[in-house]
């Protein structure tokens, strides 16, 4: 834990360097957005993409772009940011390099709640499903953290990962049991269960936008609290942080972010694991900067994975959840194998 400290007061040069670093990341994101909007079974040239976006044409291209690819791209942006921020907060909260909304079973909990809600109340719009997702995410977060935190050494990476794996298995079991009872729901939720952006259009985005907005903005203001928590509970409370209340608020924000993300496109793992580490590599240990970078890099990863999934095979799409899973697992293994480089 040798690097457990708040960043020294940054010099102006260092700070402006980090702020400038966001620029290339944002540029990459912009390029990805253009590719995402232009790419598909009906390829659209970048110039026409622009025309369609500013609304000066009303050809078929414009319809495809405005009604299908734009919402999909926008959902990828907010979900990517939400998962990355959720992961960052969890890692700071648990002082744990392996914390991730997927690994900890939080997304699986949200998914179970959505499936259970669909069983009891029938098909419902995203604006209703999201409340079930919040409840499921919150329950899973608290349960997993509580189980892992018993004992003197607290929530170690191993215990969190195992408790999370158990929660994922349990929630997955119950979700499957419910889906097996209801063939229609099974067919509808099959792709969603893997984590997919396909077929997610404006209604989903519009209905979930308020929750994403609140969650992402709230998350961006948690940097100071996370910095204090990284000093250890005792020092943080000496410095005036109310530990229990802060933990509660942070958990609530995580549940909000992960619940909304899962309601939008199913349980996606590893975004919240990879991005904070990448951000930490760039910025150093100051959580305010890690959060800022996560907000940009999370969408880069999710959108990039979605694009990759669309071009990977000539015949069919690979769901984004699968692409991220395949990319993220090696990172997880590396983090386990070479723990020294990622001490939080």
């Amino acid at each position: 834990m040798s690097t457990t400290r708040v960043a020294p007061p940054s010099s102006v040069a260092r700070r402006s360097g980090r702020a400038l670093g966001l620029l290339p990341a944002a540029l990459v994101l912009l390029v990805l957005v253009l590719i995402s909007v232009g790419l598909g079974s009906r390829d659209v040239a970048p110039a026409d993409v622009w025309q369609a976006l500013i609304g000066s044409t009303d050809r078929a291209d414009a319809t495809v772009i405005r009604e299908m690819r734009m919402p999909r791209t926008l959902i990828a942006l907010v979900v990517g940011a939400a998962l990355a921020l959720g992961g960052t907060i969890l890692q700071g909260l648990a002082r744990n390099p392996l914390a991730d909304p997927g690994v900890l079973g939080i997304n699986a909990g949200a998914a179970l709640a959505v499936v259970a809600g669909a069983l009891v109340f029938g098909a419902m719009p995203a604006s209703a499903a999201v409340w079930f997702a919040f409840a499921g995410a919150a329950l899973a977060t608290v349960a997993v953290y509580t189980i892992a935190a018993v004992g003197r050494e607290g929530a170690t990476p191993v215990k969190l990962a195992l408790a999370g794996a158990a929660a994922t298995a349990l929630c997955g079991s119950f979700s499957s049991a419910i889906l097996l009872a209801d063939p229609d729901a099974l067919n509808e939720l099959r792709m969603w269960q893997v984590g997919a952006l396909a077929g997610r259009y404006y209604p989903v985005l519009v209905q979930l936008a308020p929750y994403f907005a609140v969650g992402i903005v709230a998350a961006l203001f948690t940097g100071r609290a996370l910095n204090l928590l990284s000093l250890g509970d005792e020092l943080a409370s000496t410095l005036g942080l109310r530990i229990d209340r802060t933990r509660g608020v942070l958990f609530a924000i995580v549940a909000l972010l992960c619940g909304a993300a899962t309601a939008a496109c199913g349980p996606i793992v590893f975004v919240g694991l990879m991005i904070p580490h990448l951000a930490r590599l760039i910025t150093g240990p100051d959580y305010r900067w890690i959060l800022a970078y996560s907000t940009v890099l999370g969408p880069v990863l999710l959108l990039g994975s979605d694009i990759l999934g669309r071009v990977l095979l000539p015949t069919a799409e690979v769901p984004v959840g699968v692409v991220v899973g395949v990319l993220g697992a090696p990172v997880f293994v590396l983090l386990v194998r070479f723990r020294r480089i990622v001490t939080i």
Partner: protein
């Protein structure tokens, strides 16, 4: 169970005799339960067949309709629950004892997931079935086991790194499996889900035969494996003095365990946590003084049989076996984590 070093003194001898009697009794009782549950799963169903008729029908004796129901519909499933259960139980207890950790089961080590991915790929992409399918699963399981071993090995095998690497590799494998299954566009979405969570009902007679042959080979080599295991559990140093080659033995035992779980997964899919639960439950039945691979295998069969009976009949609609075992295994993991933490806090 003969200890490697003969204990001295009459108290020790009496103690040993006692624990051996308990071991014998446990194995007999567990075997009886396995047979009983086997018959029960033949009897119960939409048509209830009287036990005697059911047993006769397995040999082709009785009314045509009964023989059809038993032989074509129920026998494979009942047999799969028992045989695959034994394979999983033995595999789990080998992993747990070699790695010295109750949570070191093939579920967490990624082996089952890797075997499942290879089997799903062979099935979906190549239309492979039966014997060849279990061959692919075997390749997948062994390759995953080797990968996890290679990635986790760092001046010896620390069990927790082993488990965490296994969770990561397992997550990768299940991602690919869920993609393959989603892509397959099963006409029946239930069949697809069965592939993801595992169900005893998926077993075919061909795959079951592979499992049976494997178990016969295992039974023949059992005493040798048990000897290796006991030597390893004394620790590397005494084991070396007794002439055991610790690293090689560990490799052999983990290899056998990986083969067992791979073939089991080819037959019924990745049914969660049976391998993890079998050893510890058998240990409760045996008491603290003795351990037995055989008892763990039988306990694995009992778990899978009970889980499959519940899966078929407990709810108004049938569910996959893996759903039941997942639901029971997860609280057990939580309990292990909490009680282990309590112990370290108290000590």
């Amino acid at each position: 169970m003969t200890a490697v070093m003969a204990p001295v003194g009459t108290t020790a001898r009496r103690f040993r005799a006692l624990s051996r009697r308990r071991l014998g009794a446990t194995v007999v009782v567990l075997s009886a339960v396995v047979v009983l549950l086997f018959v029960v799963s033949l009897v119960v169903g939409s048509v209830v067949v009287p036990p005697v008729d059911a047993v006769l029908a397995t040999f082709g004796v009785g009314e045509d309709a009964t023989v059809f129901v038993i032989q074509e519909l129920r026998l494979t499933r009942a047999g799969a629950a028992a045989l695959v259960g034994i394979a999983l139980g033995v595999s789990g207890t080998l992993f747990q004892r070699v790695l010295g950790n109750p949570l070191a089961s093939p579920d967490f080590l990624g082996v089952a997931a890797g075997a499942g991915t290879a089997a799903a790929a062979a099935l979906v992409l190549g239309g492979v079935a039966g014997f060849t399918l279990s061959g692919y699963a075997l390749l997948g399981g062994l390759a995953t086991a080797a990968l996890v071993y290679f990635l986790a090995w760092h001046r010896g095998v620390s069990e927790y790194r082993f488990i965490l690497v296994g969770i990561g590799v397992g997550a990768l494998a299940s991602s690919v499996t869920s993609y393959l299954v989603a892509r397959a566009e099963f006409s029946d979405a239930r069949a697809a889900l069965s592939w993801l969570v595992g169900s005893v009902g998926m077993a075919t007679p061909g795959l079951l035969r592979v499992v049976a042959v494997l178990l016969v080979v295992l039974a023949v080599s059992g005493p040798g494996l048990a000897r290796m295991l006991r030597a390893l559990e004394l620790g590397d140093e005494p084991a070396r003095m007794l002439g055991a080659r610790a690293e090689r033995d560990r490799f052999v035992l983990l290899g056998v365990a990986a083969v067992l779980v791979s073939v089991a997964t080819a037959a019924v899919g990745p049914v969660a946590f049976v391998a993890m639960l079998a050893g510890p439950l058998a240990a409760i039945a045996l008491g603290p003084t003795s351990r037995s691979i055989l008892a763990s295998g039988l306990m694995g069969a009992v778990i899978l049989q009970v889980a499959d009976l519940l899966a078929q009949h407990a709810l108004a609609w049938p569910i996959s076996t893996g759903v039941v075992t997942g639901a029971f295994g997860a609280p057990y993991i939580a309990w292990v984590l909490i009680s282990a933490a309590r112990e370290t806090s108290a000590g």
